[in-house]
């Protein structure tokens, strides 16, 4: 039976909790309630209140406490109820957790799970993609899986990693994406992108829910004879520069796609690396497609216009392919 993206994360969590008694979960409403999205449903019953810790509404304290526990050898997995609230723990993440190893050789093996992204009519504070607030901080790792396979493999890698990992789960994928997963234990390495579709004419570099938008656009373009390669970054920090550059070397054209807003989004970092490192291979401008520079609007027609879609991606890709 296929496993949903959401179940894949739950399985990853519970398998790691089985494997390592130092792994525990901490967050708001994750125990009795099973989490706002039910990702942790059933885990309190299985593992008890010692390992599934319900907390007050205190994002800074939750992340800070996770950091402290990790310094003592535990492996906390934090749930931020909606990724939007991660901003309340910003200082703890970028200044405390991220900098311990460099400053005083203390590893901080925490995972911070954060359901992010739009498409569920959540409005300005339940739809954001805050990943770029963290991809600028040395010492952090940032992960954003698009498939159930990757979600499970990456949550396991994140838990086993000895540095702080931010794990952005896309809410719109939770129940929409299903796959058959291997029965045996597997991980997906942090720091490795995946070429999810091979193509010749241009590369779309993307991640998260936008992988499906890219695939849809690529299908449409295929019919017009345009062959699109799609790179799913999977890890946003550290970036798998090699895979990105290899794809652009091959296709000579790059379209950078993210759901996060344009200015200051990850597309900038990608464009900089591409334009610096494979400049000679480029046969056209580097094109970015992203959400416009506004808060995420609530009303369905506004939200639909806000989120990048396949029609728009195809249009820009077509332009680029013909360039």
């Amino acid at each position: 039976m296929p496993t949903t993206y959401l179940e894949a994360i739950r399985e990853g969590l519970s398998e790691e909790m089985d494997r390592d008694p130092n792994v525990f979960l901490v967050g708001e409403d994750i125990g009795v309630y099973g989490g706002a999205f039910k990702v942790t449903a059933g885990l309190l019953d299985r593992f008890g209140a010692r390992r599934v810790v319900d907390t007050p509404i205190s994002e800074a304290a939750i992340v800070g406490a996770a950091t402290g526990a990790s310094l003592m050898g535990l492996r906390p997995v934090v749930e931020i109820q909606f990724a939007d609230f991660i901003s309340c723990a910003y200082d703890q993440i970028v200044n405390f957790a991220a900098k311990c190893r460099y400053r005083w050789s203390a590893g901080v093996p925490i995972v911070i799970r954060a359901p992010s992204g739009g498409g569920i009519h959540g409005g300005p504070f339940h739809s954001q993609n805050p990943e770029t607030a963290f991809t600028h901080t040395p010492g952090l790792k940032v992960v954003a899986p698009a498939t159930a396979y990757d979600a499970k493999g990456l949550i396991k890698s994140a838990i086993r990693d000895n540095d702080p990992v931010l794990f952005f789960e896309h809410k719109a994928l939770y129940r929409r994406i299903k796959e058959d997963l291997p029965a045996e234990d597997y991980t997906v390495p942090i720091g490795k992108a995946a070429v999810v579709r091979a193509g010749a004419d241009l590369s779309i570099i993307t991640y998260g829910a936008m992988v499906y938008v890219a695939l849809e656009a690529a299908d449409a373009l295929q019919q017009e004879g345009i062959s699109v390669e799609i790179v799913d970054l999977r890890t946003l920090l550290p970036l798998d520069e090699e895979t990105v550059l290899a794809s652009v070397r091959k296709t000579s054209k790059a379209l950078l796609l993210h759901e996060d807003t344009l200015t200051g989004g990850l597309g900038g970092e990608l464009a900089a690396r591409i334009s610096e490192k494979v400049f000679e291979y480029l046969d056209g401008p580097i094109v970015r497609v992203a959400a416009p520079d506004t808060p995420v609007p609530y009303s369905p027609p506004l939200e639909a216009a806000f989120l990048p879609n396949a029609v728009h991606v195809a249009e820009r890709a077509r332009w680029l392919a013909r360039y």
Binding site: D29, C88, P292, P301, L302
Partner: protein, 328 residues
């Protein structure tokens, strides 16, 4: 004032309170039990069923030049400041007729012409902002106050602490109204704080704190009147803890299985609207027929308002990127 005049004043207050409490109840019933289920509201829905006495009792203690910062269960505040029922429905339905013109949903609305500050989702973030409003009122030399609402769970947030402390140190004209409904989402009070009362937190800020029956609108009102007078006199903030109960799930999609059996039923007996109605009938302030009439009129008003809201268009995507900055 003669006892008679006091009585007349109280009777009037009770009448006004009942009207707004009933209006809030009925509007939210329509939202949660009809429009949401019909799919006409697509975002989150949080209602204040059972807690209406808090925004109403406290809200009636201030005037239009005082600033209010409602939280997500204080719909009555908007109604009392003249936001129309149609505008509320339009807001929930993402229409241009809502206060945010579709940009935001549900209780995330405000209007500075009416001195209402819109919340953001992050719990308690409004507390420092309300302190700033109070600072401005004092800066300008007015006698006005700011009134900020929040739940028990919100008091765990750093912003709450910083905002209350800031206001206390600066002796700002701020009234802090807590709806202690004993839950924060699924989290019961005992997992939120180790003190018994939210009011116990006042001591640490050197401000007075009061506990009131949050299901008794007149009691809430009295406490708020005292706190407002304290603030207007330049004596600084007061914390009012209103003991109440959330008579719904956290939001419309929450079945609240985590609530112990019988708890909600017990509190149903303390419904603030029923209580006020009974009292008014007992004291001869209103007849059962009058009360029923008011409710019927409200339902009619609501029917019309829903119609109005449904006629309000969805925002046009062409305006998507407007108003991020001021444009001249």
């Amino acid at each position: 004032m003669s006892a008679l005049a006091v009585d007349a004043g109280l009777q009037k207050l009770a009448g006004t309170s009942l009207r707004y409490m009933t209006l809030m109840r009925e509007v939210e019933e329509r939202i949660e039990r009809k429009l949401y289920r019909q799919g006409k509201i697509v975002g989150g829905v949080y209602v204040g069923r059972g807690q209406e006495a808090i925004p109403v009792g406290a809200g009636l203690a201030v005037g239009p030049d005082d600033v209010v910062c409602p939280s997500h269960r204080d719909l009555a505040i908007f109604l009392m400041r003249g936001v129309s029922v149609g505008e509320i429905f339009a807001q929930y339905m993402g229409r241009v007729g809502g206060l945010t013109r579709g940009r935001d949903g549900n209780m995330h609305m405000g209007d500075m012409r009416r001195n209402i500050v819109a919340i953001i989702s992050a719990m308690a973030a409004s507390v420092p902002v309300a302190a700033g409003c109070a600072l401005a009122l004092k800066y300008k030399g007015t006698q006005n106050v700011a009134l900020v609402f929040f739940g028990d769970g919100a008091t765990s947030r750093g912003d709450w602490h910083e905002g209350v402390n800031f206001a206390a140190v600066q002796k700002l004209p701020l009234v802090l109204v807590c709806n202690n409904n004993q839950y924060a989402y699924s989290t019961p009070l005992a997992k939120q704080m180790a003190c018994v009362n939210v009011a116990d937190r006042g001591t640490g800020y050197g401000i007075p704190a009061e506990i009131v029956d949050g299901n008794d609108v007149l009691a809430v009102h009295e406490a708020a009147v005292r706190a407002v007078a304290h603030a207007r006199a330049g004596l600084g903030p007061t914390l009012i803890e209103c003991k109440t109960y959330r008579m719904t799930g956290h939001s419309a999609h929450d079945a609240a299985d985590y609530v112990p059996p019988g708890q909600r039923e017990e509190w149903a007996g303390k419904d603030p609207i029923d209580r006020l109605e009974r009292k008014m009938i007992e004291l001869g302030w209103a007849s059962a027929e009058e009360i029923a009439g008011t409710r019927a009129a409200i339902r009619e008003e609501i029917d019309k308002a829903v119609e109005w809201a449904e006629q309000s268009p969805f925002p046009d995507a062409s305006g998507l990127t407007d108003d991020v900055y001021e444009t001249n």
